[in-house]
């Protein structure tokens, strides 16, 4: 009894720890093990193939498309949300009337699911009845916006919809950080004759470093996980032109009965994410103490 009483705090932590230990770390290990087997429809552990499945994934043309698309999507999505988010935050920080209303408008996409976002943008981007049709009806006959039907351009549609959804969140991060900057430093610089842009470039932007870091990590990890948006917006198409690692994983695991290949692709997604996250967590934990 005394033993339990003394350990009560640790014991209350136990259920959560067991859940996370199994569902995060246990499952990561299991997925890795499955990626080394010849599992097709169901996991089976009677034949070991080493890293053959990884070689199979890397030599598959769809994975090649997925990796290339991920590079385009990841870079433009992170870059786009950072530029739009920072730009809007700086402009909103100029003592704007109706700031509250504007902020709400920039932010509401954050409340929506990627499925809703995908459905809405699919509709806007449809060449027959969407924006292209609208501009032509208004008299701009040569206006063309049919990227969603073109294999080469469809991935940029995913970027647009994704950036639309997430820029507001980045704006909120930067705005909070801007408001947290010590105003005395800025007025001191102004007294010294520094111009507006110089103040931004030399004082304010460097002071936003933690916000940049948070935004990059959050958006980077979202871009790796991103699955729903592609499913709702393009179904991975036309053909498999908008394939991402996440859609590759789902397709091979659940539709094509190539579970071991699906597991291998999932492991590679995790490795990519770990490279991004662990240095961040490490520095966070050291600062946080």
């Amino acid at each position: 009894m005394r033993f339990f009483k003394a350990r009560l705090p640790q014991l209350t932590l136990l259920p959560s720890l067991v859940l996370v230990a199994v569902s995060v770390y246990g499952f990561i290990a299991l997925t890795f093990v499955i990626s080394l087997t010849r599992s097709r429809m169901l996991p089976r552990f009677d034949r070991w193939e080493g890293f053959d499945n990884y070689a199979r994934v890397w030599s598959h043309p769809r994975w090649e498309v997925a990796v290339e698309n991920f590079a385009i999507f990841g870079l433009l999505y992170i870059g786009g949300t950072l530029v739009i988010g920072l730009g809007l935050a700086i402009l909103l920080d100029q003592k704007i009337r109706a700031e509250g209303a504007l902020r709400t408008i920039y932010l509401y996409p954050m409340a929506l699911s990627f499925i809703v976002t995908g459905v809405a943008w699919q509709w806007l981007m449809s060449p027959d009845l969407g924006l292209q049709h609208a501009f032509r009806t208004w008299g701009w006959e040569s206006f063309s916006f049919d990227w969603i039907t073109q294999s080469e351009m469809a991935i940029y549609c995913v970027v647009i919809a994704g950036a639309w959804q997430a820029s507001g969140f980045v704006m909120a991060l930067f705005l909070a950080a801007l408001r947290g900057i010590n105003t005395e430093i800025i007025s001191a610089a102004r007294m010294d004759g520094a111009s507006g842009p110089a103040i931004y470039w030399h004082i304010i932007i460097p002071a936003l470093r933690p916000a940049f870091l948070t935004a990059i990590v959050v958006q980077g990890h979202l871009s790796i996980k991103s699955y729903d948006l592609v499913v709702a917006l393009t179904r991975g198409g036309p053909g498999f032109a908008t394939e991402l690692p996440s859609t590759f994983m789902y397709e091979f695991t659940f539709s094509r009965n190539e579970m071991a290949m699906g597991a291998a692709s999932a492991v590679m997604m995790l490795v990519l994410l770990t490279v991004l996250i662990v240095p961040y967590l490490y520095s966070e934990l050291r600062h946080g103490r």
Partner: protein, 293 residues
């Protein structure tokens, strides 16, 4: 004078950019709402509607599409609308959010106020759970739910969302309780309060800001989830987002765009409402935790 001119031109440009950006962000919402309130001839530019576009306000207002989407649109083989799936999502959210938030609150309390050897390693390992791509757990989770006889059930889906919600809720509460002075806890102990009394009497009453953050976060994540719902739900337990995706992408015959958009609005309204009501507290709490550096 010239300086005044330049200043007001500058202000004008700032406002212009902000308003244009607002237009860009409102575009999909406007298209969704307008389309959901139109009849099909007006959407496809039928006779009498030649000048109608995706962004023109409805000339002939109709709420028919909303009714269809709610109670009689066909999703897979059933033609009963989104109604049933809406309630699935409500049930899922109620259980998944309350359990994961309650566990996160207690975890955060222990990890910040009852420090023990190795607690920061445990916290770090929990934190990593926030960031994993869920693709890495799909296959084993499907097996586990099968073994537990929870495959295709709402209970199974609740379990999944609790597992992957705990890291987030623990992070929120731990970061919040770290800022609560330890003297408060010590005083409680002096008065003879035990582990649970300190938590319920001293901490819970001052924790409402972080409860708001954790609840809104979990609510939006669970409500908006698609991957887990698509992977683990059965035909009768499908959450709303999975049903919406099926509605929009598998409709046979002529596509009823107005019904699709009404369905999307029905799926979007609860989280938008939560955000409009509580968004301010949410952001304040979230950003103050996330941008500390």
């Amino acid at each position: 004078m010239a300086a005044d001119m330049r200043r007001s031109v500058q202000r004008g440009v700032v406002y212009l950019v902000l308003v244009l950006a607002a237009g860009f962000f409102l575009l999909p919402l406007v298209a969704m709402v307008f389309t959901s309130l139109k009849t099909m001839p007006e959407i496809t530019g039928g006779a009498g509607f030649e000048t109608a576009t995706i962004l023109s306000p409805p000339r002939l207002w109709s709420f028919e599409a909303w009714g269809l989407a709610w109670s009689s649109a066909c999703i897979a083989v059933a033609c009963e609308g989104l109604r049933g799936y809406f309630w699935n999502s409500i049930l899922l959210v109620v259980f998944a959010v309350s359990i994961s938030v309650a566990l996160g609150a207690v975890n955060g309390y222990v990890l910040s106020k009852w420090r023990f050897r190795g607690d920061s390693i445990i916290f770090g390992m929990l934190l990593f759970g926030c960031f994993i791509p869920f693709q890495i757990v799909l296959i084993p989770m499907a097996r586990l739910l099968g073994l537990l006889d929870l495959a295709g059930t709402l209970g199974g889906l609740v379990l999944v969302h609790v597992c992957y919600g705990i890291p987030f809720t623990t992070l929120f509460f731990r970061n919040f309780y770290v800022t609560v002075p330890d003297e408060l806890i010590a005083a409680g102990r002096m008065d003879g309060a035990g582990f649970w009394q300190i938590f319920t009497i001293i901490l819970v009453p001052i924790s409402w800001p972080i409860f708001v953050v954790a609840i809104i976060w979990q609510f939006t994540n669970v409500w908006n989830d698609f991957l887990f719902g698509a992977s683990f739900a059965g035909p009768d337990t499908r959450p709303l987002m999975v049903a919406l995706n099926n509605l929009v992408n598998t409709s046979t015959g002529t596509k009823a765009y107005n019904v699709d958009m009404a369905g999307a609005m029905i799926a979007a309204l609860p989280t938008m409402l939560v955000y409009i009501v509580g968004g301010r507290y949410f952001l304040r709490g979230l950003t103050s935790g996330a941008v500390k550096g």
